[in-house]
Symmetry: C2
Subunit: 524 residues, 2 copies
């Protein structure tokens, strides 16, 4: 592992352009710290001259210390016909006080004359002046050659000239951008190699978008052709189809191609960073993402699972712990007995079940699945199925009745109230609570009823709540599946409920989330 | 467009292995018909010898006629030490009665000796016998060389020998499978070229998985190196990280590389097929998917939008209508006035607003966004914002009170009931209804209250209902966003509601979905 590639993460700038993403300044600071722990070389924090929130980020990021990463501020070349010193967008970068500036300039004649509406010569001067201005201020300068590959197709001499102008003005790195994402790997390969020959001394970089589904491959092709700087985002976030996904690019470079891409070379934080960023960005994680997805090392078909038991990694391209992920085996109607046996084998309780208990449990499992339950992501409810099948199972509580009421009268605030009648050990607890929604009211009422008997529930917090409409076409009459994550600070578990009634589905998952820790404790 | 690539779609077989996917026989038949309309060459329907549901599919698919596609049945090579004629898995293919068989065999020495636990020589005989048996029955035979690239790394002579055995036994096509998805494009390129030289006369194919995020690129690399048969799935569905995504591969081959990949060469059905399959598979469509995603041609940043207005396609790699998709411009806090002006420009109503009305509307929009509303996917509610800002706006109805009750008593079934008090034109309608859940009860009650005044609402159906938990960490107290799709048979619209109370959020979206058609009708 001698060869190095510098990673510039632009999750906070280009990634934040993604539909549905809105990051607060605090979110950005937290993400920056995680990126530093992962060991990227550069963190592009934003565009201080275009967005006041970004300026705030740069002023606050100065108070943090980073072990590996340099913070970079983004800007465009100066405006046509003006002096660099007078350009507020360039001055904002100096005010941001970062050690690195990324300056974007146009490389395609169509964009210079058609979009920017200036002359080809003036565009070259804009690039030169802007880079020189930032270099004179002592910054490390990365030049992003926008629309480079499209520009190359239109007028390769001019495209090359823009990068030469940047290099001559002192740019430390010239990044070839496939801004519209329309270029395929073999072309990226040829073009990067040609630029490498034309500009042998400046460091080259690649910035790829995924509009043809090959952003990762384009990045690898560019590195193979001589690029040593890679731009991308965590989880591939970005406009339209996204940017090159660093969670795929980095392990490909390190584990497959022998490059060092992150400081220290340790990728075991990768899965955690991926999920952390999706959580902060409030986007559902892509379960099928390479390397870091929850399903990336998941085995379902009976065939594969029985093969895996014979030869480890026979159906895995790497060992998941190299990237901090894990192997999973699914319970599912498609899978054979091998999968279920493997799954049950993970739970020590299974050994206590007789063959007949086990058959009944599997029958119950299949019946629930046919009603829309799914235990693939709800190991807590699956464990409860097992525990309830054990001889001598005693439910720690039983809900006899419940009532939920949501009321809005004229000008008054909306009211959510729940009543529950719960039997614990022969005692009837009938109580009620309000909440900021009906499920929250039920949750609060249940805790009121149970805490007296089970003070340990005080530690149990619900940490996540997901709703999935199964047959969306049935609209408001649709079957609804609810997943609840809960934690006692030490362990966490996920439970499931399913019903056409969203309240009932939520209540089922809620009751499971409260029963499981009580049973676990009783049996330990 | 002279060169052709044959597409074998395995959505119904390999795609159905994806976590969370369960396709009924009817689902599979419907998908097969759409694939035929798209113009793929082969549709792999399943594994009749392994799955009774698949056998049912093959018996029913015979009753359908296909214009372009041949139906293929999947099987494995015969068992070790047995005769092909006695292998139930091979006989099931003949019983399936398809014109094409895909037979998978092992190409990696590790899998032969470690997983299959037979001799290398017997594995070659198994391949030869199985292919010859199916050929003798008159079938077109595709041989899938499982783990070919991994096998090549371990023992390239043996891997090659397995494909040679298949070719010599009469296989019409030999497909090199990257079963674990761990191979990168430059290696695929080298290996396919080497196999091409070693077996110059048989057709070669490629079957790629996306575990390193390069399944599409591997497919293209194989075609460039001489493969003429491509296997993949719609939307890239498949185990773990999925298979090569045909919705990306096909337009890359046709629009970028000059191959003919589907009969007729017309890709305008592509987006529709992609969304249809995700709907049938009950998976949320990937908005960011290349070519077919809802965001694939979406523009948010003010910069891009103003450039697009100057030079069409300056920020798009193709014209979206080539693949049946469309350009979208988003309303969002990140975007500048150019985006909002473009958005408003799409709605003829905007011209009726004074500058002051417009400023107020934008203020209201931003306030709602800060409360968690998002209008990016809810054009119906956005149009209502505009319509409500018009001078002389008269609400067609006003909800004064509502009450929702969900009740479960002992052994009785759960009950959901809603009451609504609605004022229409000075008349108070106070009514109630039951439903199979609380939102369905509200929907039914509202229609009871309004139908007398607005009989045209009879045609309005809710066609989709989605729930998104925004701050999932807040668990049952979380902010919830609800999207409802409605249609009157001619037009459809999407509306949004947002609240910590899921009933309130649903009710907001529901009321918008009912108000919009009334206002549209009044103004037309």
């Amino acid at each position: 592992m001698n060869r190095r590639v510098s990673i510039l993460d632009t999750t906070l700038r280009d990634g934040a352009q993604m539909e549905g993403v809105s990051l607060s300044v605090v979110d950005k600071l937290r993400i920056a710290q995680r990126l530093d722990e992962l060991g990227v070389a550069y963190i592009e924090g934003g565009w201080p001259g275009s967005n006041p929130k970004d300026a705030d980020f740069f002023s606050r990021v100065k108070g943090l210390s980073f072990r590996h990463a340099k913070i970079a501020a983004f800007c465009s070349t100066r405006r046509a016909g003006q002096m660099a010193e007078q350009d507020p967008n360039l001055r904002a970068v100096l005010e941001a006080g970062t050690p690195v500036a990324v300056v974007v300039g146009k490389s395609s004649t169509m964009h210079v004359t058609g979009v920017l509406r200036t002359s080809l010569a003036e565009n070259l001067r804009m690039i030169r002046d802007s880079v020189a201005y930032l270099k004179a201020a002592g910054l490390e300068v990365v030049f992003d050659a926008e629309h480079f590959f499209d520009g190359w197709k239109l007028d390769r001499e001019y495209a090359l000239e823009t990068t030469r102008s940047a290099a001559e003005a002192g740019a430390d790195c010239v990044v070839l951008c496939d801004t519209n994402g329309g270029t395929l790997p073999s072309e990226v390969s040829r073009v990067v190699a040609a630029v490498r020959r034309a500009l042998p001394s400046v460091e080259l970089g690649i910035h790829a978008h995924d509009d043809t589904g090959v952003a990762v491959a384009n990045t690898l092709a560019a590195v193979e052709a001589g690029a040593a700087h890679v731009q991308g985002t965590i989880n591939g976030y970005g406009e339209r189809c996204g940017n090159a996904n660093l969670c795929t690019v980095i392990p490909n470079l390190q584990l497959k191609m022998g490059y060092r891409a992150v400081a220290g070379g340790d990728l075991t934080l990768l899965t955690e960073v991926s999920r952390y960023v999706s959580e902060i960005a409030n986007l559902r994680p892509d379960d099928h993402a390479p390397y870091v997805g929850n399903s990336a090392f998941t085995h379902k078909a009976g065939l594969h699972v029985s093969a895996m038991r014979k030869v480890a990694n026979s159906y895995q391209h790497i060992s998941p712990d190299q990237v901090g992920n894990r192997m999973r085996v699914l319970v599912s109607e498609l899978s054979g007995r091998a999968s279920i046996a493997h799954k049950l084998g993970e739970l020590p309780l299974a050994v206590e079940l007789s063959d007949e208990d086990m058959r009944q449990m599997i029958r119950r499992l299949k019946e629930l699945e046919s009603r829309g339950f799914q235990f693939e992501g709800a190991e807590g409810s699956f464990e409860l199925l097992l525990r309830r099948a054990r001889p001598g199972y005693e439910p720690p509580f039983e809900v006899q009745d419940f009532l939920v009421l949501v009321e809005k009268r004229s000008e008054r605030d909306i009211l959510s109230e729940a009543t529950v009648k719960v039997v614990v050990d022969g005692t009837v607890m009938h109580t009620a609570a309000q909440g900021n929604g009906p499920v929250n009211a039920l949750d609060t009422a249940m805790r009121k009823a149970l805490l007296e008997f089970y003070p340990q529930l005080d530690k149990v917090q619900l940490t996540d709540y997901k709703v999935r409409i199964l047959d969306e076409k049935a609209a408001t009459a649709a079957l609804t599946r609810v997943l609840i994550d809960a934690s006692d600070g030490e362990h966490s578990w996920t439970t499931v409920g399913c019903s056409t009634n969203i309240i009932e589905a939520s209540f089922q998952a809620l009751l499971d989330s409260l029963e499981l820790p009580l049973l676990r404790r009783a049996s330990s």
